[in-house]
Amino acid sequence: MQEPVVADTKTSNRELLDFVFAWPAWFFAVGGALNGLLVAAFVVVILMLMFGLQFLGYSHPVYWGFLIVNFVFWIGVSHAGIMVSAILRLTQAEWRRPVTRAAEVLTIFSLLTAVQFPLIHSGRPWRTMYWTFPYDWNRGAWPNPRSPLVWDPSAIFTYLTSTILFVYVALLPDLALARDRAPNPVSRAIYGVLAMGFRGTTRQWRIQTVAGLLLSAIILPIFVSVHSIVSWDFAVTSVPGWHNTIFAPYFVIGAVHSGVSAVVTVMIVMRYAFGLKRFITRDHIDSLARLLIVVATVWLFFFLLDFFFGLYGTEPAEVDTWQRRLVEPPWVVIAITFIICAYIIPVPMWMFRAVRRNFFWMFVTTILVNVGMWLERYMVVVPALERKSGLTFTYGDYAPSLSEFILVAASFALVILGFLTFSKLLPIMPAADIKEGQILADRIRVGRANVPAAMRE
């Protein structure tokens, strides 16, 4: 059923590289709008640097809110790239081919966006070198290795580095292709340098393939560690509602849920924006949707475990937290929206083949998933602080301010802008990979049926 893409090499080359060498008008319009949002966010950040964090909705004792939620969200989305590329590459799933590059690029830009947030969210961002990098040689004052906030940058930057390497290795043949097809000498020179002399010799191909496979295998433990460590930012404390041992796998699978959904959204947009109807087909989103059903169900199981074992100890503070999360207004609205968006609407819909193979409905449901997952992080982070311990006198409250909304909106703008810029400068579709898939495609006749097949070494 997973029909291979049918196009000869010439058409593939032209259509896959089309956007890199074209300048459609909408690109400038969208880019301009996104930049406008970024400027607004920039103003907010400057104000925060100059006058402190008074513009944010924090109060005693709720000191983490929207910005941390957004950080967790984008780290979560960044898990899509590796999930789709590395795991599917290792398991030799054929349908991964057109998906991989977009997913990896999404990883890079959502990671880059995510790391902004803990920085601007800290009280004195200009001093964060203490935290992320041990530079203070003379006083012998080092970062505190016991703090999850030190594990965080280590894991995230390792992940970022390896993802960039991963993308670059996969990009080499396409860079060479872009070099060969570049319309002017300047871009030819730039692509030429970037392609590092890739000429497509057997030896180069072998090294490129082996490097890709090795990086896939190495990256997987990193991928798991990143979101686990992000979850430990919360779970290592004794805060009721945060302190639950299920948090690490719960966050990881939630990240995959929202990340793969984001990939589907991005692919559907790309299909129309970049004219890739031939390469991004119903089969691809169908396969991703089936994967999503499994992921979403495991995620729901972990969520329920979090819930059950939160209440299991019947600690008053923990029960208060869950009551705040699920019952008290305004959280009850958020809780209902969250579970409806993240599971109750999308997953039953994905059970139907017609929905899985419909671009419009897949677009809607995957957007819903990410709305739900954003709210899920909000529900995890904030109510636990509002009901932090048995001292009811300090029960707090949190309401996001306009600044926080602007910053969150700008984070979306930043990721989209990064993605657009990448696709403008470099081939966003893995042309070499797709063409390889076309070569490896084959058919097997079984009785009267003619089954699509693929070669394996």
Partner: protein, 278 residues
């Protein structure tokens, strides 16, 4: 520079030279192992807030205007928590002063990425303002919610700026602050004792809150000194003594003594908010 920063500097110098071990309590000059702490007798507390005001004046805490209190950004290193017991008209107000518990097993210390908060060798949980970058992770980790964040640079209108305590740093925006057990007073007494060549006398150190408490509900002491009056009090009143939120296992340096209510019904869990799971 505040004395807590000096603490950090002295500690840092001990760590920085490679191969040298961190000096023990005895080497630094506390052979007996001081652990500063407090005994809070809730039976004596009237909820008068004198301690709050004294703390405010002593430690250069920014003014808590009405707006600040409404938006829950007021800073009170020591606060009087008021709980209502029973239903109207038989309601009773119960007071409990809550300040940094200077936990022996502090949840805030482990999570700070930059060692801005750590445990010193006198049992104090110390905040180094210069190192703090304001991640506020410590404030989240603290079950007692006694850590406060500076959302802005504090300002004192004329002539109130003249009453600032020269011994205490004015904290800038973007960092966490909290009760220090008036570490500047502890240091002053220690220096005096040293120049006079004697030991610190029991009861010589008085933080502002304890000093100003009209009913002596707050008594500061060295918990490791069995001779000190408060330690003896806590011992004698063992039946009333407890620590706050015991089930968190934080080993607080503050011992609370339960209220004795002659009219109370014989129910164990009447202090619902401070109830611990026995």
């Amino acid at each position: 520079m505040s004395s807590s920063a000096n603490e950090a500097a002295s500690r840092a110098s001990a760590v920085s030279s490679m191969g040298q071990t961190i000096p023990t309590d005895a080497e630094v000059g506390h052979p007996e192992g001081v652990r500063w702490g407090m005994v809070v007798d809730l039976d004596r507390c009237t909820g008068c807030q004198a301690c709050v005001v004294a703390c405010q004046a002593e430690n250069n805490i920014a003014l808590n205007e009405e707006q600040r209190v409404l938006e829950r950004r007021a800073k009170t290193w020591i606060r009087i928590e008021r709980y209502w017991e029973g239903e109207f008209p038989n309601a009773k107000a119960r007071f409990i002063p809550v300040l940094c518990q200077h936990c022996g097993n502090a949840p805030c210390e482990t999570v700070c990425p930059v060692w801005a908060t750590y445990h010193n060798n006198e049992g104090l949980n110390v905040q180094v303002y210069n190192r703090c970058i304001g991640t506020r992770f410590c404030a989240n980790g603290c079950p007692y919610s006694v850590r406060y964040f500076n959302f802005w640079n504090p300002e004192w209108p004329e002539p109130m700026n003249n009453q600032l305590n020269p011994d205490v740093t004015v904290r800038t925006k973007g960092i966490i602050e909290k009760c220090t057990f008036c570490i500047q007073r502890i240091n002053r007494v220690q220096v005096t004792a040293k120049t006079e060549g004697r030991e610190i006398r029991s009861g010589e150190v008085q933080p502002a809150c304890a000093q100003s408490c009209p009913t002596s509900a707050l008594v500061f002491c060295d918990l490791n000194d069995p001779e000190s009056a408060p330690a003896q009090l806590a011992e004698a009143e063992a039946g009333r003594s407890y620590t706050l939120l015991e089930h968190f296992g934080t080993d607080p340096g503050i011992i609370y003594l339960k209220k004795v209510d002659p009219h109370a019904e014989l129910e164990e869990d009447s202090h619902a908010p401070v109830e611990t799971h026995a």
